[in-house]
Symmetry: C2
Subunit: 345 residues, 2 copies
């Protein structure tokens, strides 16, 4: 295999990923579900949430944090509220169960809320928000994240996780309007990667351990802290996520959590058809999209979810590029589990 | 009266404000409700949403946009969803009715959603979010706003309103955790004020009519556009608010609305006691507050809602400072309605 970027079909990547996850001890159905979810992240252009996660997941399995054969359960369901117990299995299987339950309760009652507890990395929140929108819901999803690496606005000590937030609405046709972002100004992984490549960071992303602004990526691992997006506003969103998702799930906010692990997750659904017709969403959405597209230079303004849609169209057709570095990392995991990946050799 | 800042008790300001609103044609109860709400904004430090709004409101009354004697009604209520028809009366009276109904339905079902239609300026969303938190709810409130003055990320044309977002949780004791912000990077009113004072803006707030960054405040009224907070993330939040609140309420997004007026508003409540004890919120909140307060220099890191709490404590004791400019503006309104305000003379 050359040192170049190699491209693979989503199907090939899903088969490879499911094989490795299965070898970690996951039942076939769980392995397929998690694999499909990871590859979808690659397909829509969020490689940070794609198959590279196999490395992290295998570490958790070996540390006993992720129980590969565990199945999520509905812990309770009462009227519009339900709790899913992830049983420290795969966060994705718990999240799909939660999303399915949320859609069911929202359709029944008009609004519903699901909390996920004892749940490992849920993957990309936008995937679940997209499913909610496809079912005719306005979907809200947020989770707190183990490990405080972000400083609140005005401070410099690590208090907050990267606490992502997703929000979706049914779209006008080709794609739903799906917003999905980390409340950290940039992903910790990107800073670490920049450090490895010796890159100088742009200003405004990172503080060093003394609270001084820095462009040296190594300061993050040296006791520094990421900033939040959007100044005091983004910081406030991160605080609310940490408290709401942390307390409601029992995971506790990152700075308080004993385990420093897992995603306490909250899903909220609203059945938009209680208030407006699906047709109104389609026609107003179409008109609004056009106004957005004309709000700047051609192709400079996108709707939430449009980048992911375009990327998925392109990568479904042309394949997903996987760097030799990622392949090398995944082959190392596969070797530990005695899985053959001839496609990567 | 001198040209200095004058301070007044909240009670005096409420009486004055209710008198003016009553003279506009509002029934006594509505006038008192709106007056109390406006003065509360002054008390918590958000003077932009305080009694100065009498100027704007009187204009709307005279244009027939705000019907001072109208009463909000529950348009429909079905399971967890209800719609309040503001009947183009006072946005605050509609919002209090909506908040009351939201709390009732949320307590009954666990989660609920209320949409407000035909509603004038609702005032400060944080006030309603705070009431939800006091009732033991996680509260979410957002509204779209008439008049596109904000450019979406990547563009330069006016598409979005200032579309505010509020989010609340029960606090540990003295105050609830209430976040409430405009998705515009800064209030349009502040830019206009800066222009009047000949101030040069800090960079990154405004684009001129050709889409070029500018520090000249006059460019806003000259076809320019405000930016959103938080880059593409904040822009996405604003887009979702405009679509969700605009379509669900029938107000339509600012760029599409025929009337270009009113606040399409959505309130969502979750009864936190379905998932965690109120005691957990109190004890974890207390611990988290301490961690936040120690995350930087003394008094540099605040919880969401803490600035408002501190300001309210201070202004309740020391009075609310009202500038002579604001007094002059309100006296002009009062004169039009033949209301005497000896307190301001």
């Amino acid at each position: 295999m050359s040192n170049e970027i190699n491209t693979f079909s989503a199907q090939t990547l899903t088969e490879i990923t499911a094989r490795v996850i299965g070898a970690m001890g996951a039942p076939t159905k769980s392995a397929n579900t998690v694999a499909k979810s990871l590859v979808l992240s690659n397909l829509v252009g969020h490689d940070s949430h794609g198959i590279i996660r196999l490395v992290e997941y295998s570490g958790w399995v070996e540390q006993g944090k992720l129980i590969p054969a565990a199945h999520p359960q509905i812990a309770f369901s009462k009227e519009t509220t339900a709790e899913i117990d992830g049983a420290w299995g795969w966060g994705q299987t718990a999240s799909f169960l939660a999303t399915e339950k949320l859609i069911e309760l929202t359709k029944q009652y008009g609004t519903a809320t699901i909390v996920l507890k004892q749940t490992n990395h849920v993957g990309r929140l936008g995937e679940y928000a997209d499913l909610m929108a496809s079912a005719g819901l306005m979907g809200i999803a947020f989770c707190n994240t183990g490990g405080a690496v972000v400083a609140p606005f005005g401070g410099f000590r690590r208090v907050l996780g990267t606490n992502p937030f997703a929000w979706s609405l049914p779209g006008s046709g080709a794609f739903n309007y799906v917003l999905d972002f980390s409340t950290a100004i940039v992903a910790a992984g990107k800073i670490i990667l920049a450090g490895m490549s010796g890159e100088v960071l742009e200003p405004g992303l990172l503080l060093d351990k003394d609270g001084q602004p820095t462009t040296n990526a190594d300061d993050l691992t040296n006791g520094g802290a990421l900033l939040t997006f959007g100044g005091h506003k983004g910081s406030g969103v991160s605080v609310l996520i940490d408290l709401a998702a942390g307390i409601l799930s029992g995971n506790m906010p990152a700075a308080i959590s004993q385990s420093g692990f897992g995603n306490g997750t909250v899903l909220i659904g609203v059945d938009v058809s209680r208030f407006a017709s699906v047709e109104a969403f389609k026609s107003v959405g179409k008109e609004f999209e056009l106004i957005m597209h004309n709000a700047g230079e051609p192709n400079s303004v996108l709707m939430p979810g449009e980048f992911e849609y375009q990327t998925q169209m392109s990568r479904s057709k042309n394949g997903v590029a996987i760097s030799s570095g990622v392949i090398k990392n995944i082959l190392e995991v596969a070797d530990r589990y005695k899985v053959e990946i001839p496609e990567f050799r």
